[in-house]
């Protein structure tokens, strides 16, 4: 039996497990003590607990100093008061201190309205900041990378980003530097993020409570394209967007807004409203075929067949292995991400179909992801300086775009995607959640490998939120070993095994973001509540169940695309348009002679 302790918080008794913090015990009583630096994504096992800001203090009887409740453990018989005059004054002082050097340009800050610091000032009723006459407001140069903007004058040193980048992602692009007033978070030698090993996963952006870390805003460019009569503008929406966009409009987490989103995009003026899920089905055809080819050769004893095969549809993950595992760059599938497959098909097959020159066709993607902004700017994904995907905007950017256009998402009638690049199967939808890509691949690979019909479509053994999962599937007598990792730190564990030759998997799915794309760096902010991410996953699987077709190779428009244009999966044409290659980005130590 677990040992428990009894204590009294705000005149109410509570019994909690030994080791529980006062903050959590209070929560059990429904008392929400304010926090700023603390963050706990419970289901994903991610905790940031620097105990630095002291907003969460409370009075503990018998102690002289106020206790930070996020890091103080409950003890038997403790008497805690969370809102005495002394506590409220202390909180106010802490807040005034944090605000004293913080820039005051809230009106035009990209985080305005979703900023936790702003909310806290509001919640604590701060109406003046004493000492402003002589306080020095912090300054730091602005750093803009292809995906992320750093405005570190707005940093409050909660160090959540450092936790994400170092402990969760094991990238280590960001670290706290300097001390005192000069303290901030930066890449090595305060270089630009672009010159660091950053993967653009965006997890630092997803947790930053203030406007210090935000995404590069591409809405103005999209607006300009839509206003240009010489351009045909088409849009693709990633699977995870439909499961989260509603949150920005006050709907509960896990509300699917697929039809409303399509209606909103049409109303914004896009000429064709398409779906990245279509390209996800296409990815399965290409990646699945590659998997079966390598697997088949491997099972026949061909030692040149590289096993395991790794998924390659997550651009944050691609950046990661290019930086840290370039020696293994022939292990991942060469299939492009769905975003880029879509762009490549849109600007060839579809452009021809509607008789538009690729230069006059603008492809916009709506993504839960910030790495996609960088991905679509990669040189290898453009033809004569014309990118396959022109602009990638995040779920959050789409929400502000819809609001700017005074479209009332809540009251829109559902509409459908356009054909032909808007049709998808359930397999395409589940790309949005961790384990979904490999599940989709297995649905198709099973049928192609065994020649039999798959009876049970739901591979529930591949689903869930544990960081590393494994399962063995029965391909009609052949056991197929599957590994799944989400979060780059978890991916690193599986990759280390591949490097050392001890990995026993046939295929591994990797997603850079905890939870998969539904937890992406471009999604509505979860503010530390991992229930939101779980609800999105549930929504994704619900959408899959509703689909009449749930296997990628049964998508009639995919079949047609191969018949009319690509030939077979992994054909020469498919290779040229739908596959890519990777680069060695590891730092080199060159010795001067």
């Amino acid at each position: 039996m677990m040992e428990t302790v009894k204590l009294n918080i705000d005149n109410r008794e509570v019994e909690v497990q030994k080791g529980t913090t006062i903050l959590k015990a209070a929560k059990e009583l429904g008392i929400e003590i304010p926090t700023l630096c603390y963050m706990h994504l419970h289901d994903l096992n991610i905790e940031n607990k620097p105990g630095g800001c002291r907003i969460c203090v409370a009075e503990v009887q018998g102690r002289r100093n106020l206790a930070p409740t996020c890091s103080t453990k409950c003890e038997e018989g403790m008497v805690v008061k969370t809102h005495t005059t002394r506590v409220l004054n202390a909180r106010r002082t802490v807040m005034e201190f944090i605000l004293s050097d913080h820039p005051k340009d809230c009106l035009i800050c990209p985080k305005s309205g979703t900023c936790e610091l702003q909310d806290m000032a509001h919640r604590l009723g701060i109406r003046e900041i004493p000492g402003q006459e002589y306080a020095e407001v912090s300054t730091y140069r602005k750093d803009t990378s292809p995906s992320i903007i750093r405005e570190l004058d707005k940093c409050i040193m909660c160090r959540r980003c450092e936790t994400m980048c170092n402990d969760v992602q094991t990238v280590g692009a960001l670290s706290a530097i300097n001390r005192g007033f000069m303290a901030t978070v930066a890449p090595a030698f305060e270089q630009n993020l672009e010159h660091s090993t950053c993967t653009y996963c965006g997890q630092c952006v997803a947790v930053c409570p203030t406007g210090a870390l935000t995404e590069v805003n591409h809405v103005p460019q999209v607006l300009r394209a839509l206003a240009d009569p010489s351009k045909t503008v088409i849009v693709q929406t990633a699977p995870a967007v439909r499961a989260a966009l509603g949150e920005e409009f006050g709907m509960p987490a896990g509300t699917l807004v697929t039809g409303k989103m399509a209606a909103a995009l049409r109303s914004l003026g896009f000429d064709y409203v398409f779906d990245t899920d279509f390209a996800a089905d296409l990815t399965i055809m290409e990646e699945g075929t590659e998997l079966l080819d390598r697997l088949g050769r491997h099972l026949k004893g061909d030692s040149s067949a590289r096993i395991p095969i790794l998924t390659s549809c997550c651009p944050g993950w691609v950046n990661f292995f290019e930086h840290y595992f370039p020696d293994l760059k022939d292990v991942p599938s060469t299939a492009k991400s769905p975003q880029q497959m879509f762009g490549a098909i849109a600007k060839t097959y579809f452009a021809d179909k509607i008789g538009v020159n690729r230069k006059d066709l603008v492809v916009v993607s709506i993504m839960p992801c910030l790495a996609k902004k960088y991905e679509c700017q990669r040189d290898e994904f453009s033809v004569d300086n014309n990118p396959d995907v022109d602009f990638s905007i995040s779920t959050r950017e789409l929400a502000t775009f819809i609001k700017q256009a005074n479209i009332d998402l809540n009251n829109l009638q559902d509409e459908d995607f356009d054909a032909p690049l808007g049709e998808s199967t359930g397999a395409g939808v589940i790309f949005g959640a961790t384990g979904g890509v490999i599940e989709a691949a297995c649905r198709t690979a099973y049928e192609l490998y065994t020649g039999k019909k798959l009876e049970r479509l739901d591979f529930t053994e591949l689903r869930g939120m544990e960081g590393v999962r494994e399962a063995t599937l029965d391909f009609d007598g052949t056991p197929i070993r599957i590994g799944i990792a989400h979060g780059l730190g978890n991916a690193r564990k599986l990759l280390d095994d591949v490097r050392s030759g001890t990995s026993t998997f046939h295929a591994i799915e990797v997603m850079a973001c905890p939870g998969g794309c539904i937890g992406g760096g471009g999604q509505p902010l979860h503010h530390g509540n991992s229930d939101i991410i779980k609800a999105r996953a549930t929504a994704i699987y619900a959408e899959d169940r509703k689909k009449p077709l749930r296997k990628s190779h049964e998508n009639p428009f995919i079949i047609k695309l191969y018949e009319e244009f690509l030939g077979k999966p992994n054909s020469e044409k498919a290779h040229h348009l739908l596959h890519t290659h990777y680069f060695d980005k590891k730092k080199k130590i060159i010795v001067k002679q």
Binding site: L174, S175, K587, I589
Partner: protein
């Protein structure tokens, strides 16, 4: 995102590797490793930090964080003649700050910096145990006592040629 290339001389890289190896390449020993490296090179340029990062498998951002957190680490090379002014209590009350100001003015640099020609660098110290001579200035190994702001020009003259 370009590949970052580091250029160091072979013996320098070998020395850093040797220092890291003497601490079993243990990431926990980062501060000690940096100490030894600074002893050897006189300062911790970015390139040295990159090699330490590769050897200890600690992200270079973390190393830079440590180097900028502790004031005894420096990324600027010391001048040929490092000038240190004692800021201990005795020296301070006898006007060390004015002396420091004069050095700043004469050399055109701040504490922690080095002159462009690499000749002088400026730092401040805690009590050096020569309170009887306060205020005290050290230039390299040489000690100057009872220094007044007017003496500063003369002291610097000793190192001209």
């Amino acid at each position: 995102m370009s590949t970052i290339k580091i250029e160091l001389r072979e013996q320098d890289v070998a020395k850093i590797r040797e220092i890291c190896a003497s601490f079993n390449n243990d990431p926990q020993e980062l501060i000690n490793v940096l100490h030894k490296c600074q002893q050897h090179f006189g300062y911790l340029p970015a390139e040295v930090q990159e090699v330490v990062s590769a050897e200890l498998t600690v992200p270079v951002a973390k190393i830079y964080g440590v180097v900028t957190f502790y004031s005894f680490f420096t990324m600027t090379p010391k001048g040929k003649y490092p000038v240190s002014i004692c800021m201990g209590t005795a020296c301070y009350v006898r006007g060390a700050e004015k002396v420091l100001d004069e050095f700043r003015k004469e050399l055109g640099i701040q504490v922690g910096e080095t002159t462009k020609d690499g000749k002088f660098s400026l730092s401040s110290l805690r009590c050096v145990g020569a309170c009887g001579l306060a205020p005290v200035v050290l230039v390299g190994e040489k000690t100057y006592g009872r220094v007044a702001p007017d003496d500063v020009k003369g002291i610097l003259k000793d190192y001209e040629q």
